[in-house]
Amino acid sequence: MIGLAHRRTRPAAIARHALLLVTGGLVLLPFVWMTSLSLKPPSEIFQASFSLLPGHWYAAENYHKALTVAPLPRYLANGVLVCAAILVLQILICAPCAYALAKLEFKGRDALFGLVLFGLLLPHQILALPVFILGYSLGLLNTYAALVFPFVVSPFGIFLFRQFFRSIPDDIVHAARLDGLSELAIVWRIMLPMAMPAVIAFSIFSVVAHWNDLFWPLIAVKSPDLMPPALGVAVFRSGETSTEYGPLMAGAVLVILPLMLAFVVAQRWFIEGLTSASLK
């Protein structure tokens, strides 16, 4: 496809690269700067210099401190645990519902779909107060369950899976029934494997959202042992060591790193997964 790119000249191509390198450099500057500070000793950080690389390497000290003074490994492990629990429950709960909406005839189907669309309208922050009260009355606050339970059903997940399941031919469902598969077996063994692109897009959307979420964890847990990465690094920053930029930056780098590495490997999937939610 030529499109807008038609008839490029050499100066135009050079200008394009020059501009994009400048904007890209500015956009990446916070990442570069935090990495640079995480390698420097305090004396160099407070010396105010433009140099990116430290004169005296201090990376080991800073990263060691980030991993021991703040319970950063614990935060990261909490993040993995919470994101995994949310994602597994979301798929377990949303996929069967999406299958029923896409492939079964039953009374109240339209009403249920209406319910899902209504759920899509509601940003999670507006539900925080009543869900907090619910968590309180169930005794869930300040537990792992508190971080997971508000998200176990995802209207967006149901919506996305339903769209994808609808595009799978009915004949495949009929054939599976003739083979004696139960409806639930059809969901797990036929529909979900065929809807892998939707599953991957949704998984990335869900994991990124909950790894990065600060709002709900701030409300739901107080104990440092339970904190997911975003809340952990925020608490690290406001703690006693907050004047020590080196370890703090090392901590911030470590919180960003897992998703960033995954993004570099699977860029296309990330962009698709993270924009699909607004193209619903």
Binding site: L4, A100, E105, L122, L129, I133, L214, V255
Partner: protein
Amino acid sequence: MTAASSLCHSGALEPSRDAASMSSLRKRKLDDMLAATALTGPAVALLLTLFIFPALAVVVIALTDWQFGAKSLRFVGLANFSAVFADPGFRASLGNTLAYVAMVVPGTVLAGLGTALLIESGKSFRAFYRAAHFLPFMATLAATAIAWEALLHPTVGLVNMAFAALGLPTANWLRDETTVLPVLALIGIWQNLGFAMVLFLAGLKNIPQDLYDAADVDGADQWLDRLRTVTLPMLGPVAMFVVIVVALRAFEAFDTVQILTQGGPGHASELLLYTLYRESFEFLRAGYGAAITVVFLVIAVTLTLIQVRLMDSRVHYQ
């Protein structure tokens, strides 16, 4: 589509099914009904518990004097809302939020459009440039905010060092009430521009090549002509959509306020979601917090409904 019409439909494709008797049809419908109940049951129960009832509860709480832990409550009509709107703190927060959105939306849309056009105007390094500009959108904002704090540090921050070297005025960016909100808006633009860019890139891909060919025939063969006569007009609907989606995200800004400014200095950087959080969960003023939540809900739902309308009209258009 009803069960009967779907059966006719599949019957037409597979003649052997014409033999299906009425009783097996009825059995199939009953099976479907039972299966549907089992398959949708958990999702329905949770949707009601975690979305529908809470949404209703927030409206009810906003209309009462209920406090956390209180055994009884009394309807007070719109008293919470009049208290909220009479509160200078909330009014400042709402004003700040509107100003913040008014800076973030045009900034993000223009920056996103500009980068998308630049990337699409050539073929080399497209994936690289796209990834670089998209990175802030997926990185943990709580962590990148800390990097911004270091960049903006009044004495050892790179921004002031660079500004001083260039002879530009320096400032204590996050502690000065004239600069704090624009600086937060800049971070908001930085975070979201890659998102807008990706949506614009998708829009650019959907412009039919015929239109460029036609423009060529009409003599619009320079890049700028093609941009003006074909690209920008065709991007109109996408741009409207991006405006709404970015506005929704801007209204939900929270992390940077919580980590960098706590709403200060004074109320200069207090945004709606931060006020909602403080009133509801730090000061535990349930009715008051619920009233703010309802205000936030009205804004969010209005924007989402506009977004849905735009999506629909785009579908009809194609």
